[in-house]
């Protein structure tokens, strides 16, 4: 089947780009040194492809991701890399642990999170340490005390995690590397107080300059996006939202049938895959349409858009179609269709 036979807007991934990105990462971070983050793609079929390459431990961001990975037989070692403090949500994880459906480790950064985890049947945790991003994580100085508290209620403390999310998109590599070293110094110091085998952290942007973590929590590298592409990493963009020109005004503009419900806008608008010799561009994204100008399009043409941010773009779609050449528009051959089956909460 050709991509042009699919109802647009539709999400396409370039299988060659995907394979090359995975190979580049696997060479640097083989086996369990990479803990792929499924939040980036929310797709168990893609996770299974990573597992085939020897990466069988995964990061999740939501309880549903953990449940879906377990149901897909990918539950060898799942880290919920956020705090979960709602007892009903933790109980869903406890069921997986009790039944042996998955090994589940949960990040904790407070006594409250520890108590809920223990009460809900969680057996293993990481102490989540704030390494400079204002989100989750305890003060580094509190990590050892929290580890003691976790152990005192019967939890196994596997180690620490600390996500330097604020550094992933620092444009200059040397700056990114030096700031990552400082952030990871905080994590190392905390880990010395906590103990355990695991130091988890990092991401696509710090894939080669985070030299502290025992496992890298990267996900976006698989298909990249406009945000990460600016960093000149050895991973290339392979994700496209294919649309159809539904209206065209010669010499003025054309309307494509995919808009901000099909493309995440938090990091800016999309760009055209084929920019028609640099003259064409995106004018507006509205709910269900994108208006493009400066080019020449006919009603019915298939037009590809590259998103600025991969994770929330994929989360808007039900299916990811793998194609032989994502730049070929409607002529691309569809090689496989994978459900985006880890969406929601």
């Amino acid at each position: 089947m050709r991509a042009g036979e699919l109802t647009t807007p539709v999400l396409l991934a370039d299988v060659g780009v995907l394979e090359a990105n995975m190979a580049a990462m696997s060479t640097a971070r083989p086996g369990p040194m990479l803990r792929p983050h499924v939040k980036a793609f929310k797709c168990t079929a893609l996770a299974a492809r990573l597992a085939d390459d020897g990466h069988r431990s995964f990061c999740c961001a939501t309880v549903r991701e953990v449940e879906g990975m377990a149901a897909a037989g990918l539950g060898d070692d799942l880290l919920l890399a956020n705090e979960v403090v709602d007892r009903r949500a933790v109980d869903r994880l406890g069921v997986l642990v009790d039944s042996g459906a998955a090994r589940v480790t949960v990040a904790v950064d407070s006594l409250a999170a520890i108590e809920v985890a223990a009460a809900g049947g969680i057996r293993e945790v990481l102490i989540d340490v704030d390494v400079g991003m204002p989100r989750c994580g305890c003060e580094p100085a509190d990590a050892g005390r929290l580890a003691d508290q976790a152990r005192s209620v019967g939890l196994m403390v596997r180690g620490t995690m600390g996500y330097e999310g604020h550094l992933q998109h620092v444009a200059d590599r040397a700056d990114r590397a030096s700031r990552t070293e400082v952030a990871m110094g905080l994590l190392s110091a905390a880990h010395a107080e906590v103990g355990g085998d695991v130091v988890s952290g990092g991401g696509t942007g710090t894939w080669d300059c985070n030299l502290v973590v025992t496992e890298l929590q990267a996900g976006s590298f698989v298909l990249m996006d406009g945000d990460y592409a600016r960093l000149n990493l050895p991973f290339t963009e392979g994700l496209v939202v294919l649309t159809t020109v539904v209206s065209a005004r010669s010499g003025s503009h054309a309307a494509l049938d995919g808009g901000l419900k099909a493309l995440a806008m938090d990091s800016g608008g999309p760009v055209l895959v084929d920019d028609q010799s640099g003259s064409a561009g995106v004018l507006i994204c509205s709910d269900e349409h994108t208006t493009v100008t400066g080019g020449s399009w006919q009603v019915g043409d298939r037009v590809g858009l590259r998103p600025a941010h991969i994770d929330p773009t994929i989360a808007k779609h039900e299916v990811l179609h793998l194609v032989d050449d994502v730049t070929a528009g409607g002529d691309a051959e569809v090689l496989a269709s994978w459900m985006i089956d880890l969406r929601g909460w």
Copy 2:
């Protein structure tokens, strides 16, 4: 059930606000003078509530919305208010027409769109006229010719539509009204060449100043959002994404478990329902979290966020829970739970 028993992030709507907004609109645009746009809420249960008030003709933006409305028994008069030029997509509409499952009218703005509509079994169209928003719609001067072409291939031309989307958020009401009058002047002139009973257009922002359309295509008024709230319309905000504080650093910040996968960011970030006396605010939205600062929160607290843009926020969720008081956080009583069943394409 209380909202605090739901897994967060979760979408809540205030039933009193919803009812008041619908009543205000129904008074101004009773019965078929309002053609509610289901793209705003993608929920047949909410559409059915509007139908109960006498609004039984609806606008749709996608083929799936048309199919879902027909399946829900709400197919009396469905307008797909965009061009659809893919034959497979049009065929799906043709099946509904042939089977009598729905009356379907499609917007057309080119000979190509007319030919595909006729070939796919569509029987009724509106001529879509560009009234100043660079998206879909023909040159006003071409409308009469297109109507003739549509009739020549056997289509019934019900009239015209023209959406002044570029004016919906003009802040000053007098400016908005005068510019709407100019835009609708273009539509009126085109309609004189086209004929038919229907002049369709308008939206929540021009609900009272569009004096030309025979039916208003408004949707966002039902629950409003930050964008529309700035216009001082007689509709109020009733939509909240309820989250849980999963991490809190006293005197610094707290992390909520809903981020940009649960909240549309194309019109900016969300705001706190309870801003704690004006001191608190949103610092960052990341994929699955929102970091807030300047307030006092405890791990486990339920915190509501109001989105800047309603349509794509709702499209990120599977369920809309109706509550008695959306400002009550976890204490709100859940009165009904409606599936967001018109998502996707």
